[in-house]
Symmetry: C2
Subunit: 510 residues, 2 copies
């Protein structure tokens, strides 16, 4: 996934002798020949890609530090707000420590009124996010395995599309790029509180995907016997299971798994009942321990669907393969899966098991990532998001605990997702007098006339709906918003089109 | 369309000698042989289907009378609310005059508190609507031209789907079944204030339709060179152009046409830019004079799209064909269209012109309908809707001025459509102390698991959003709601799942 992957130590990809080798398989074999870099790092699992881990950690640390410096720097700036050369000193500090030019309209008039610290704080968070997004789209810090390679790989597993719905919880925001080490562009990601994804929205997406296959043979021809894979990702906390699990399911891992599973089955049956010709989809259910990012993947049952009770734990795979040869990884992990589930060894589950094996293999790197950089358990095992993201988009957010992200088109129909976000930020910020910074976003297809204007209208509409839902916090400046749109047909960065910290806007209002 | 159509007098359908005759064409030729019933009604246009007109008028009169009796009957009931045998007398009157059994919970306690008349009124409107819907789905009073016949006809015009977006104005609610005399099941209808339809929603629908053609060859195979026809229907008032036109466009017919046209072009370009292989759609722009239901259809310009400036008026067609032979109707009307537009005679516009000719032909019956039953101009040239319908569904509403209908999934993103409705009912009801009855509706596909539960949740959510948008009117009982869902995959009637007039609900609240 990373540029560093070119030097990837071990990687799933050695095709079993009885399987067809895809182009991606061959590429992976070549990478294996580059030698096992991980072995040079004492204590690492032989499957771990230590170089990739270093790159990912550098990126995560740098980005988060940019956000985390804001509060201490503003605390310092607050101290001399009554000095005669306040603006000059404040700008110097901000430039030096935050790499930001503060907005003059928020620095003026301190001789007669106190600095609007909450607003300035929100402005800094928004501006830091804007710079972060710009870098993401211009420098591509999470450079990916080529789209074609990944597409070849999933097709070799029998899928043409993989669609993940993790929980909206910020501790899962890095699920794709870090925990599962998948290329973010190759995976659809739509987050919902409790992973309770919208079945009708998914059905619509399924139709879009199948239409494209039928009409344009993209990503592959509809005559290929591949399927749409829908995965739901729930979470739990092994150290504080009753407190730091999923709020939407009362911090109960079994209920979280059940809830996600019920949506998966509804989606599958919806496809089967609504379309002809044996249309169906494959399902996957994954749990993440948010303490250490170890995953569990539910094994297929007799019907091929995830078994709610029976899963394979990446930590167990980690331990069982502690001294294995990376070249044998796929075979060894597949065997471990088959030991857990007799159905896994069936011919028609072979592709699914191959994909599961890849995810478990990839997750071993992440287990070492947390082990090496955080002593095996995050210090922020609870919420530590820096801002709320709501709307449609946010491809650039691939970092843990950076964003509480709710995928939605209206507050009205997704109030739960928004309420959970504000509840989290009441604990994190509002109770300390700091506002909850909310980035309201709508990605649009620039090739549809008027789409940008409608996206702009939509973010304004969402802003109004937020103000109507949280009138007190908005009035008191305890919720601030930045309105952002992005043409997702082009490869541009985001465009800021409004918000409560802009010149001429008073309070947190709109 | 009606059962009466079997005796249809004159009908478009005589294929020109150089055209392929479809099954529908042949069926229409056979009907022509039944003789021209219209000629027997003095003063009717020879193309008019007088039998159908009679059936339609009987249905319209009967349905509307059921709603219109409510207020006078309740006025009478109000007079003896303090009598000792009040409930018995009220029920007798209601049974006799309204065919309703009034709900006991709204009749009790009149000795100590005045009758909640507004609530009782809303309840009666809702119950009348429920009975109206039940009749619609069980008795099928608007029995249709067979689906297959109509599908054959539109395919002979080069279309596989026709999708109409009229204005949400109640004076256009009968557009499909009356004004244009098309079978309501054969036409997609989604209403928006000002006919300003949602481009992204239409794109989604287009993908669904094309997917079904590609995967199931329904309604026809994707290899057939037919297209999706999108029509927008705006309106104006010839007698009071500055007052009784479209409120969403400041009662300006030119602006209404322009607004609708801009959405049509955006949709067309959206399809062209988003999909490959020469994907496109055909467009049609229609205006309705709400005084007398005469339509104008904009002629194709050089590109084949509707010309904003150049249209053909059904009244002019009516006059020009006053003495024509119905058997020649298609040829004569096509020639009139070609006189208005040189582009209309082009080979690639032939199907479009054929469809236009059919609409103009059908509209002649409606012109006579208004002439015969309303002296050529409705007495209710302004708003006279009986209730507001909002949400997804309302296939059964095919009557003029019965319902202000807003197609929407949330109040948040379609606030304009809702606001216009409440504004209309402020004039009609609220200023007289009568509540605005609002039917909140969500049709669902029963073959998708959980779809009914989600539809029920959605109507409750819409009810809350209405209460939040109109808190005073809700509090004062000046907006009442009935919550309704329907499984549109089955052929059942509606199901009432809640509302403000149900037992145990106080005020207009929820």
């Amino acid at each position: 996934m990373l540029v560093g992957r070119q030097k990837r130590a071990g990687h799933l990809g050695l095709a079993r002798s009885n399987r067809v080798r895809t182009a991606a398989d061959v590429a992976h074999r070549q990478r294996l020949g580059a030698g096992n870099v991980a072995r040079m790092h004492t204590g690492f699992h032989p499957f771990t890609n230590a170089v990739e881990n270093d790159c990912l950690f550098a990126y995560e640390s740098r980005c988060k530090a940019a956000f985390d410096k804001i509060e201490p720097v503003l605390r310092e700036i607050a101290q001399f707000q009554h000095d005669s050369n306040f603006i000059i000193k404040a700008q110097e500090l901000a430039r030096l420590l935050l790499n930001l030019e503060l907005p003059e309209h928020l620095l003026e008039n301190t001789w007669i009124a106190p600095l609007e610290m909450g607003k300035l704080y929100a402005w800094c968070v928004f501006e830091t996010f804007r710079l972060f997004a710009d870098e993401f789209y211009s420098d591509k810090p999470l450079a990916q395995e080529s789209d074609a390679d990944f597409q070849h790989f999933i097709e070799s597993c029998g899928f043409h599309t993989v669609d993940f719905s993790p929980c909206a919880d910020g501790r899962l925001a890095h699920t794709i790029s870090y925990v599962l080490r998948l290329p973010y562009k190759g995976v659809r990601r739509k987050s919902y509180a409790g992973a309770m994804f919208d079945v009708e929205d998914s059905l619509q997406k399924w139709v879009e995907v199948e239409h494209r296959r039928l009409s344009e043979s993209l990503p592959n021809s509809a005559s290929e016997p591949t399927r749409y894979l829908k995965a739901a990702v729930y979470h739990y906390s092994s150290s504080l299971p009753g407190q730091e699990g999923c709020a939407a399911h009362g911090s109960d891992a079994a209920k979280a798994a059940e809830g996600a599973m019920s949506r998966l089955l509804a989606f599958q049956q919806g496809v089967q009942n609504s379309f002809c010709c044996g249309a169906s989809i494959d399902l996957m259910l994954i749990g993440i321990d948010t303490d250490n990012d170890a995953i569990r993947i539910h094994c297929p049952d007799a019907s091929g669907n995830p078994d709610g009770e029976n899963y394979i734990d990446a930590q167990a795979v980690y331990d069982a393969t502690r001294h294995a040869n990376p070249a044998d990884s796929e075979r060894i992990i597949s065997e471990l899966i088959e030991q857990k589930s007799s159905a896994a060894s069936r011919e028609d589950n072979r592709g699914l098991v191959k994909f599961m094996a890849r995810l478990l293999f990839n997750n071993i790197s992440q287990i070492d990532y947390v082990r090496n950089n955080f002593n095996g358990c995050y210090s922020d095992i609870g919420h530590q998001e820096r801002f709320i993201g709501m709307g449609v988009g946010f491809e650039e957010v691939q970092l843990r605990n950076l964003t509480y992200f709710a995928y939605l088109k209206t507050v009205e129909q997704n109030a739960t997702d928004v309420d959970v976000g504000i509840k989290i930020f009441t604990g994190l910020n509002i109770k300390r007098g700091l506002p909850a910074p909310v980035v309201i976003r709508y990605d649009y297809h620039g090739n549809v006339p008027g789409a940008r204007e409608r996206a702009v209208a939509k973010v304004h509409c969402l802003q109004q709906a937020m103000a109507a839902r949280f009138p007190e916090q908005t009035q008191q400046g305890l919720i601030h918003t930045m309105l952002v749109v992005r043409d997702c047909s082009a490869d541009n960065s985001i465009e800021v089109v409004g918000g409560s910290t802009q010149p001429g806007v008073t309070g947190g209002g709109h």
